[in-house]
């Protein structure tokens, strides 16, 4: 494995002349990972809540 490629934080953040390109791609990747974890978890929570509301309503009717 080759060593650390940057000697300072600012050099790392700058990414040579490609600051925008590199960080835009990693930003998209971060959004992609987050959205695809949040979406299924949210779907599941909504389903459980809906079913619990339904169960309570049915219990009240009886």
């Amino acid at each position: 494995m080759s060593g650390l490629q940057f000697s300072s934080l600012s050099e790392f953040l700058l990414m040579g002349q490609y600051t925008f390109h590199v960080w835009a791609v990693y930003f998209i990747f971060a959004v992609f990972l987050t959205a695809n974890i949040v979406q299924p978890l949210r779907q599941r929570r909504l389903f459980i809540k809906e079913q619990q509301r339904r169960a309570r309503r049915d219990a009240n009717v009886e």
């Binding site: 494995m1 080759s2 060593g3 650390l4 490629q5 940057f6 790392f12 990414m15 040579g16 002349q17 490609y18 390109h21 590199v22 835009a24 791609v25 990693y26 998209i28 990747f29 992609f32 990972l33 959205a35 695809n36 974890i37 979406q39 299924p40 978890l41 779907q43 599941r44 389903f47 459980i48 079913q51 619990q52 169960a55």
Partner: protein, 248 residues
């Protein structure tokens, strides 16, 4: 063999089995992607031609290659749905579509950002780019088709057929770089040979990222499928028990 097959098709069996394996999959996915990202961002040497944009490869290549696995998966699940009427297969097919759309979209977007400094253009009607764009629209088509048909069984059949027919595009994307030598370069080889263009410090982190993103794909597909199972089986007792146990 047939008993095993019938069991595998049982949504409840899949749900319970995946409950056991999910934590391990999360650990493996997080570990691989974390290692891969640190390696790609901090340790991969700057490319002599494209400088730091080499780091874009560690996002673009894994996402793009797995976007090619999603459509065949949907076509296989569709075939199983049509031939054996397995309910679980249709649930997997349904959950694959939005994930495949995400992967294809991110592959196109990151590819455009990489293309701008390296090729001098965000977009070109190159064979690889165009066939990948067609895949993007095919995923939208499958999702729209399913939401347009009210009957669950009819939607399952229609989507299965569209997925099988649409899968013809996958080998076109895969071999577009060989058949039409336009802009997008063919896949580079992975080799231990020191004379090779890609030394291990370049391709090892790439392999780690590819496996990590594959695990991520499996993880989010299982998560979505589990909710789909609960929704379709909501009237059975075992789902009601899960709903009742969950925190209010």
């Amino acid at each position: 063999m047939w008993l095993w097959f019938a069991k595998l098709g049982s949504p409840r069996w899949f749900y319970e089995l995946s409950s056991k394996w999910l934590p391990w999959l999360v650990v493996v996915t997080v570990a691989l992607i974390t290692v891969g990202l640190f390696w790609a961002l901090l340790f991969v040497p700057e490319d002599y031609q494209q400088g730091h944009t080499i780091r874009i490869m560690y996002v673009h290549v894994p996402v793009a290659s797995i976007s090619l696995a999603a459509f065949p998966l949907m076509a296989v699940a569709g075939t199983i749905t049509l031939v054996w009427k397995m309910k679980l297969a249709d649930m997997v097919a349904k959950c694959t579509a939005p994930i495949g759309l995400w992967f294809t979209g991110v592959a196109l977007a990151t590819g455009a950002i990489w293309g701008e400094p390296i090729w001098g253009t965000w977009w070109a009607w190159d064979a690889r780019l165009t066939s990948q764009l067609i895949q993007f629209f095919l995923f939208i088509g499958v999702i729209a088709l399913r939401s347009a048909i009210d009957s669950q069984d009819a939607a399952a059949k229609a989507c299965a057929i569209l997925s099988i027919v649409g899968a013809i595009n996958v080998p076109i994307i895969k071999y577009s770089v060989v058949w039409w030598n336009t802009l997008h370069q063919p896949a580079s080889s992975y080799s231990m040979d020191p004379q090779s263009a890609n030394p291990p410090e370049v391709w090892v982190p790439l392999v780690i990222m590819i496996i990590g993103v594959y695990c991520f794909f499996a993880l989010i597909l299982i998560l979505r499928t589990r909710t789909e199972i609960l929704q379709r089986e909501r009237r059975s007792q075992w789902v009601m028990d899960i709903v009742a146990q969950e925190n209010k």
